[in-house]
C-alpha cells in the first residue's frame, strides 16, 4: 500500500525496520539492549542489519547504564532497547540515573499491542507513566505514521538544551505494520526551544563584576562537560587568573594538575576549595547547580554575602536553592566564548589594567595557606593498603590518561579526590542519583566507545555486586576493562556515617559472605588478582595495565583498610567551612 501523504518515498517498511532506519539516520553506533516479546519484531530487523552493533547485556539496568556511559564519554546520544513490562521497569534505575546527571539518552521500550493497552495484558506496564518523573520527555507512539518523526524528536530533545533521557514506548503491533520510511531533516517544536545565546547585557555586567572582584572564585560543574566547553573555560580562567573548583560532575572540565585548580568542593571537597567558596566576594557558577552536597547548610552559606553570577542553559537551575545576582541563561560554549571575545575586545583594556591585582594576590596567598594544610594527606606508612594509595598509583600507572568509571561510596570519593583528571569526559560516575552498580556497565560503554583506551572501574565490594553479571557481557564483547575493587569488607560510606553519627553501630553495613572475586572473575573467563600488601599495589597495577594483559579484563581485588574514612567531610547540616579534617580525629 502506498502512502499518498508521502510522495518522496514509496519504499514500504515495517515499523521495526523504520526504527532501525531511524537509528541509522542518527548515526547510532551501539544499541545496548535485551530482547523480549514486545520487541521481537525490532530484534528481527536488527538481525538483518549491520549499521550499528547491538550489545547484549545481562540485565536491562546495565543496558541503560552502558548507553549512558557511552554518551558521557563521547557526547553522543546513547541508545538502549528493552522489552515491555519487566524489561521496562528494569531500565528505570538507569533512566533515573541519567536524568539526575542530565545525560542524553534515547530509550526505546516495547509496549503491548495498542489495542491491548489498559487491559492488564501480559507484560504490560505504563512505561510513560512510570518514567514521567525521571525523563526529559517521553512518548507513546500510537500511529505508525508518527514513528519516524517521534524518534527524530526524541534524539533532538535528548541532545539539545539541558540534555536528558527520552523514552519512546512502541506498541508491538506498530512494529509489524507497514509504512513508507521518511526521516525528517529538522525538528520544529513550538513548545521546545532552548535558549543558547546568553543575554549580552548580562554577560557584560558579569564581566564588570568579575574584573572588580577582590576574592573571585570560579565554580564549574557538569555543564562544562555536557556543553563541551572546557577549552573556553581554560582560556577564561587563565586570562583572569582566578582560582577554580569543580563539582564532582565537573571534574576534568579544568585540568586538575593546573595550579589554579583548588580541587573538588562540597561534602568531600578540599579545604581550600570549600574555604574559598565560603569566603569569596564574587562567585562565578558555570554549569553547576548548587547541589545540597556542594553548598552544605544553606543558612551557613548565606551567612557570608557574595555576589553570584550564574551561567546555565536551564533557567530552573538558576536561583533554585541559592539566590543569584546575575543570571545568564545560555549554552556554556556560547556564553564563555562571548566572555573571552569581550576580554580580547571591548574589555581588553580594563582586563589588562588588572584593577584588583593586589587584592587578588592577597587572595591567592590566603588560598595557598589553606592548600598548605594538605587536607588530602593520609598515612603512607601503613602496612595495610590505603585506598588513597591505590588511586595515586592508578593515576601514575595510567599516566593520568585513563577513563575512570566508578560506583558509589567511599571509593568514588577517593577516586574523585586522588585521580587528577586533566581532560573532560574521563570521569564517569553517578553524582545526582548515586546509583550503586553503575561502575561496571559504565566501563563497558566507555570501552566500546574507545576500544584502545585504558578503562578502569573503581568500585567497592558492595557496589560491584549490584551489576556483577555484566562480567559475562565483558567476556562476550572482549572488553579489557580493569576493575579496581577497593575491598574494605564494608559498605564503607554507610559505615563511615554510622561511625560518625550513629555511635559506631554498624547496622547491616558489614559485607559478609563475600565471594572469592579472583575465582569469580576466572569463572567468567577473566583474569583475577588479589592484592593484600601495599608493596604489591604498584606491580599489580603495572601488570594489569601492561602489554601482556592489554586484551584481557582484569578483576583486581585490593584488600584495603577497613576503617579508612573519607576526609575532609562536611557533616550533614554543617556549613562548608565546618569540615571535619583527617587530623582532627
Amino acid at each position: 500500500m502506498e502512502d499518498p501523504s508521502n510522495p518522496t518515498t514509496g519504499n514500504q517498511c515495517t515499523g521495526a525496520e523504520i526504527v532501525i532506519r531511524c537509528l541509522q539516520e542518527e548515526n547510532v553506533k551501539f544499541v545496548f539492549g535485551y530482547p523480549g516479546g514486545a520487541v521481537l519484531n525490532i530484534y528481527d530487523a536488527i538481525f538483518n542489519q549491520s549499521h550499528f552493533k547491538h550489545v547484549l547485556v545481562r540485565h536491562e539496568q546495565a543496558a541503560v547504564h552502558a548507553a549512558d556511559a557511552y554518551a558521557r564519554a563521547t557526547g553522543e546520544v546513547g541508545v538502549a532497547l528493552v522489552t515491555s513490562g519487566p524489561g521496562a521497569t528494569n531500565a528505570v534505575t538507569g533512566i533515573a540515573t541519567a536524568y539526575m546527571d542530565s545525560i542524553p539518552l534515547v530509550v526505546l521500550s516495547g509496549q503491548v499491542p495498542a489495542p491491548s493497552i489498559g487491559m492488564d495484558a501480559f507484560q504490560e506496564v505504563d512505561m510513560v507513566g512510570i518514567t514521567r518523573p525521571c525523563v526529559k520527555h517521553n512518548f507513546l507512539v500510537k500511529d505508525i505514521k508518527d514513528l519516524a518523526a517521534t524518534i527524530k524528536k526524541a534524539f533532538y530533545i535528548a541532545g539539545t538544551g539541558r540534555p536528558g533521557p527520552v523514552v519512546v514506548d512502541i506498541p508491538k503491533d506498530i512494529t509489524a505494520q507497514f509504512h513508507a520510511f521518511s526521516y525528517p531533516e529538522t525538528v520544529e517544536m513550538r513548545s521546545y526551544n532552548p535558549i543558547l545565546k546568553g543575554h549580552s547585557g548580562q554577560i557584560k555586567k558579569a564581566l564588570r563584576l568579575m574584573l572588580d572582584a577582590k576574592r573571585p572564585m570560579l565554580y564549574t560543574g557538569g555543564g562544562i562537560i555536557l556543553g563541551d566547553a572546557s577549552e573556553q573555560l581554560v582560556k577564561l580562567a587563565r586570562r583572569l587568573g582566578f582560582p577554580i573548583t569543580n563539582t564532582l560532575m565537573g571534574l576534568g572540565g579544568y585540568p586538575a594538575t593546573d595550579r589554579q585548580f583548588v580541587g573538588m568542593l562540597g561534602m568531600h571537597g578540599t579545604l581550600e576549595a570549600n574555604m574559598a567558596m565560603q569566603d569569596c566576594d564574587v562567585l562565578i557558577a558555570i554549569g553547576a547547580r548548587f547541589d545540597d552536597r556542594v553548598i552544605g547548610n544553606p543558612d551557613h552559606f548565606f551567612s557570608k554575602s557574595r555576589t553570584i553570577i550564574h551561567i546555565d542553559v536551564d533557567p530552573s537551575s538558576i536561583s533554585k536553592r541559592v539566590k543569584v545576582d546575575v543570571p545568564i541563561v545560555g549554552h556554556v560554549q556560547s556564553v564563555l566564548g562571548e566572555m573571552n571575545d569581550l576580554l580580547d575586545g571591548e574589555f581588553k583594556a580594563a582586563a589588562d589594567k588588572k584593577p584588583e591585582e593586589a587584592a587578588i594576590q592577597a587572595w591567592w596567598t590566603q588560598i595557598e595557606a589553606w592548600r598548605s594544610k594538605k587536607c588530602l594527606s593520609y598515612d603512607r606508612n601503613s602496612d595495610i593498603i590505603k585506598p588513597q594509595y591505590v588511586l595515586e598509583k592508578l593515576w601514575e600507572v595510567t599516566k593520568g590518561d585513563a577513563f575512570i568509571t566508578s560506583d558509589v561510596g567511599q571509593h568514588q570519593m577517593w577516586a574523585a579526590q586522588y585521580y587528577k583528571f586533566d581532560k573532560p569526559r574521563r570521569w564517569i560516575n553517578s553524582g545526582g542519583l548515586g546509583t550503586m552498580g553503575v561502575g561496571l556497565p559504565y566501563a563497558m560503554g566507555v570501552q566500546l566507545a574507545y576500544p584502545d583506551a585504558q578503562v578502569a572501574c573503581v568500585t567497592g565490594e558492595a557496589s560491584i555486586q549490584m551489576c556483577i553479571q555484566e562480567l559475562s557481557t565483558c567476556k562476550q564483547f572482549h572488553l579489557p576493562v580493569k576493575v579496581i575493587t577497593l575491598n574494605n569488607r564494608y559498605m564503607g560510606m554507610v559505615r563511615q556515617w554510622q561511625e560518625f553519627f550513629y555511635g559506631n553501630r554498624y547496622s547491616e553495613s558489614y559485607m559478609d559472605a563475600l565471594p572469592d572475586f579472583v575465582k569469580l572473575a576466572e569463572a567468567y573467563g577473566h583474569v583475577g588478582m588479589r592484592i593484600e600488601k601495599p608493596s604489591d599495589v604498584e606491580p599489580a597495577l603495572k601488570e594489569a595495565f601492561g602489554p601482556k594483559l592489554k586484551e584481557r579484563m582484569v578483576f583486581m581485588d585490593f584488600l584495603t583498610d577497613q576503617k579508612e574514612n573519607v576526609f575532609p567531610m562536611v557533616p550533614n547540616g554543617k556549613g562548608l567551612s565546618e569540615m571535619i579534617l583527617a587530623e582532627e580525629l
Binding site: G129, R132, P133, H137, L140, S191, P315, S316, K320
Partner: protein, 163 residues
C-alpha cells in the same frame, strides 16, 4: 501568596498528567486546575491557582516552562487580570427557604437554573472569594450540594496569552 498561572500547552494525551505530576513531585501547592482546548484545537489552555513564596512561584513558572509540552506560561499576578469561577449550588427550597434562597441568589447576582419541589439549583460566577462569600452567607443547613469549576483567568486589556 496566591497566584493564578495561565498556560498554553499541546493538546496531547498525557500533557495534563505532566503538569499534575510536576506539582505533586515537587510538593507545590495546587488549589485548583482547569483545562480545556482553545479555539485552536491543537492547544489546551490551563489555569492553575497555586500559592507560595516568590521564590517558589518563580520555580513553578520555570519548571512549567521546562515541560516539553508546555508552549507558554504567564503568571497573571504580574499584571492586572480577571478571574472567574463558576459554581452550581443545590439548596433546599422548602418553607421559608424558598423565598430566602431566591433573595440571596438575587443579591449575589446568581441565577436559578433548575427548580424542583424541594430544591433550587443556583448558578453563580465570580472570583473565588465571591463564591466563598455566597456559601458563607447561606444557612449551612440549606446547602445540599455544591460543585465548582476552579478559576479561569485572563489578563486585562492588551495582555494576551497567545502564540
Amino acid at each position: 501568596m496566591k497566584h493564578i498561572i495561565s498556560l498554553l500547552m499541546e493538546n496531547e494525551a498525557g500533557a495534563l498528567s505532566r503538569v499534575a505530576g510536576l506539582f505533586s513531585a515537587r510538593a507545590y501547592n495546587i488549589e485548583s486546575l482547569t483545562v480545556a482546548p482553545t479555539e485552536d484545537p491543537t492547544l489546551s489552555r490551563m489555569t492553575i491557582v497555586t500559592s507560595g513564596s516568590d521564590e517558589v512561584i518563580e520555580q513553578i513558572i520555570k519548571q512549567l516552562n521546562k515541560l516539553v509540552d508546555v508552549v507558554k506560561v504567564l503568571d497573571l499576578n504580574d499584571g492586572r487580570y480577571i478571574e472567574r469561577e463558576l459554581m452550581l449550588v443545590k439548596v433546599k427550597a422548602t418553607g421559608p427557604f424558598r423565598e430566602e434562597m431566591k433573595r440571596m441568589c438575587d443579591i449575589f447576582r446568581g441565577r436559578i437554573i433548575d427548580v424542583a419541589d424541594g430544591s433550587y439549583t443556583i448558578e453563580l460566577t465570580g472570583t473565588g472569594s465571591k463564591l466563598d462569600a455566597f456559601l458563607e452567607a447561606l444557612d449551612k443547613t440549606a446547602i445540599l450540594e455544591t460543585v465548582r469549576t476552579g478559576a479561569s483567568g485572563i489578563g486585562r486589556g492588551d495582555r494576551i496569552l497567545k502564540i
